[in-house]
Subunit: 218 residues, 2 copies
DNA sequence: TCTCTAAGTCAGCGACTGCTTACATACCCG
DNA sequence: CGGGTATGTAAGCAGTCGCTGACTTAGAGA
């Protein structure tokens, strides 16, 4: 690799211009443009990281002029913040409160599904956005809040109660589960380490189930 | 954050010019200079990532002229590769073969120690170097090899045998343990998420021990 | 049809990037 | 002491970065 002339696609081969559900971008629609930018940015930021992603790449992926990033999101940081906020929202709605107060089984199943294949159409790589930092204070705050909120939801499903100090250890255990989840996604996607990289749902579900169950019930 | 004028210290406040064991850099010592550069670079790369780290930062941290990076390591990529190789070596010697073929207890203890406080003087953050990519093919190969070698060592301690296919699942389980380890370090150091961020050895050792034991013996 | 505004385009600035080149200095050996 | 080489320094080049301001164009309301 000579100089910093890597141009594009450090790890991933470029998202092929977005083949999502968005109906052909025709004409002038500010809201659609914003959405296209966020979608392209999330992918890039999650896979390549903040600094390695250039606004020109994002704009190209979204099929949009570069200057519009600054028009709609003020700055690259602003766009990153929007991405973080959206990931936060999605994670919140996807992990809606379990039907029963302590329905750890269903939650564990959903966790595993998240690692192997995200419930929405998108890949688990999006989760890695939670580990990326832009150095922007506000975005970092959103990220931390998201992770802590996720922790509490998970812990609650396992019986954690904010008013009952004896259940406090469940918080830490929930975070260990999250750490495992994120670690596995990292090893699979980012590092491509075998054999976990090419392991399917069936191979992963067993050990992960056992692991999570021990964490919450053992 | 205006423009890209962040100069230095995105996440970390700068390593304060290295207060390590290295005896005062006096005069001209190529080997010492090389070591100083690698030490400073490892810290930066591990905490801030490859792209966010500039060669000028590294040189300043090491108290050395920027041009020497190119003299001794050819390029920024070359320096990164040297960092990766050194991390690979350290991890290899630190996790030397257990006394007995299947001495999983001792290995688990060492894993936990790695997460909370690395055995050598350096912080666990160094582990994150294993998750960083520069886009350089060679460095990525070293990284993948290191992780897979680490996997096999860990699995071997749990009874894995390359010649016995029935022990193959232990490889995957060892990698789940590694994923957990890396994930916890991420959450603690990089994201600073509570409560795991400020949890001490005693609070973490229990659940982690239980988790690893389940993974290998359950 | 005309007009006004929102949406999108374009060229380029200043800052910073990794790296090179030409030069200065300290150390070793005869 | 005097060269010769290894080590370190200073200045700057070419390229990329995020971002800006002036511009054009599409589309809805009168």
């Amino acid at each position: 690799m000579s100089n910093q002339t890597e141009s594009s696609a450090e790890i991933t081969p470029a998202p092929a211009h977005e083949a999502d559900d968005e109906p052909i971008r025709s004409g002038r629609d500010a809201e659609a443009t914003r959405r296209a930018l966020v979608r392209a940015a999330r992918r890039r930021f999650a896979t390549d990281g903040y600094r390695a992603t250039t606004v020109r790449q994002i704009a190209a992926d979204a099929g949009v002029n570069v200057a519009l990033i600054n028009r709609y999101f003020v700055s690259k940081d602003g766009l990153f913040e929007a991405c973080m906020a959206r990931t936060s929202d999605e994670l919140d709605t996807q992990t809606e409160a379990p039907t029963r107060p302590t329905d750890i089984d269903g939650v564990i199943d959903r966790l595993i599904a998240h690692v192997v294949n995200a419930p929405n159409g998108d890949d688990p790589l999006q989760l890695l956005l939670l580990l990326r930092s832009s150095g922007d204070e506000n975005a970092d705050r959103i990220r931390r809040n998201t992770l802590e909120h996720f922790t509490e939801k998970l812990a609650a499903a396992a019986g954690w109660n904010a008013d009952d100090p004896t259940t406090a250890p469940l918080l830490l255990r929930a975070q260990l589960a999250i750490a495992t989840m994120l670690g596995v996604v990292m090893l699979r996607a980012s590092a491509g380490v075998e054999p976990v990289a090419s392991a399917g749902h069936d191979e992963l579900a067993g050990p992960l189930n056992q692991l999570f169950r021990t964490l919450f019930e053992g």
